[in-house]
């Protein structure tokens, strides 16, 4: 389950509640993707795509949290043991 890859919406091909589709670029390879489940996503957004469907819009701020987590953890631990 769950081979889903982030790609950038290059263009919207069809605006329609169910058939909404767009061309999504995955680092040099593009595919037409159904965007019906991400109505808020626009050109330039990154979406997570699984079997031709966008299942989520990628939150670019949250994407950075992995890199700051350890520092926050250490700071919190120091704070609680101080």
């Amino acid at each position: 389950m769950c081979l889903a890859i982030p790609g950038r919406i290059e263009s919207i091909e069809l605006e329609d509640p169910i058939l909404r589709s767009g061309k999504v670029d995955f680092g040099g390879v593009a595919r037409s993707v159904n965007l019906a489940c991400v109505p808020e996503a626009v050109v330039g957004d990154y979406v997570i795509v699984h079997v031709g469907m966008a299942i989520s819009r990628l939150d670019e701020d949250e994407a950075q949290q992995v890199f700051g987590y350890l520092k926050e953890m250490e700071a919190a631990d120091e704070g609680s043991s101080a």
Partner: protein, 365 residues
Amino acid sequence: MKYLDEYRDAGAVREYAEALARVATRPWTIMEICGGQTHTIVKYGLDELLPEGITLVHGPGCPVCVTPLERIDKAIALAQRPDVIFCSFGDMLRVPGSETDLLAVKATGGDVRIVYSPLDALDLAAANPLKEVVFFAVGFETTAPATAMAAFQAKQRALSNFSMLVSHVLVPPAMEAILSSPNRKVQGFLAAGHVCAVMGVYEYRPIVVEYGIPVVVTGFEPLDILQGILMCVRQLEEGRAEVENQYARAVRAEGNRPAQDLIAKVFETTAQKWRGLGSLPQSGLGLRAEYAEYDANLKFGLEEIVTEEPSECMAGLVLQGILRPPDCPAFGTKCTPERPLGAPMVSTEGACAAYYRYRGIRPGA
């Protein structure tokens, strides 16, 4: 690739491994639910980075592995029909049925086609009006929106030569089955990130409350897995049991509402047999009455098949995390990826195939 490669950074991975070693003071057993996570763990040798005492158990997160034998046999029966173009994800082609597998059916002349998306199967139906196109709809909740979309569009386009053999399974009932087993060793879960991207995280709250174990929604890249494990171990060390979201870049707490609505429009929850686990109530999806015309079971009048698993295959115990694949008597002898007895040896995410590729040979060991 952006938003992929950054989470494979060697330096960051090392930092997380070191942090984990500092935080873990006791042995803990954690299960990762998703086959995609198993794949990453095996591919990047992540268990090599874990401190002694942290054990990862591979759970039933591979829809390939848990598809019931009867359904594989039905798929094979359909694929053998001369009037059928049978479409499937590549994962299913090598899974053994009672007698044979889909790849062998292809070898003997069946029109079996690999598709990337259920919507591609729909296009095949439109392009081949004289054939019956059947799509093997396997997958967890992650795949259900795409399958639902295919059924929805089939109805809209009034395609009469398209149907689906549905075999969707749901994760939370499987987790409960594992947790309620008396032999349970699992103390914490890494929940399947993409399933949660669709379904959200609220389903796990009752599980956390009832069983008192931490659940961390986790992504699929090495850093995601390590952070997920770290968050889980922190909870265990601190005696907490909460739902946490490691994969916040893709998962919102409420999930994807349009996707959930689409699934609810087309499917309803049903009982479902899991290969190796048995029948679990409310653990699968079936087409609603309004979509009955797209149900391959009904269209082709498929009868219920009674199947028997090879007695040596202990997939059920492996899928629950109770038996380690190398401890299975058939492992590597009667059961290998070339001649598998059960699905966990065939699927690249299956626990048995994952162990087999390692085969316990480590450089310097």
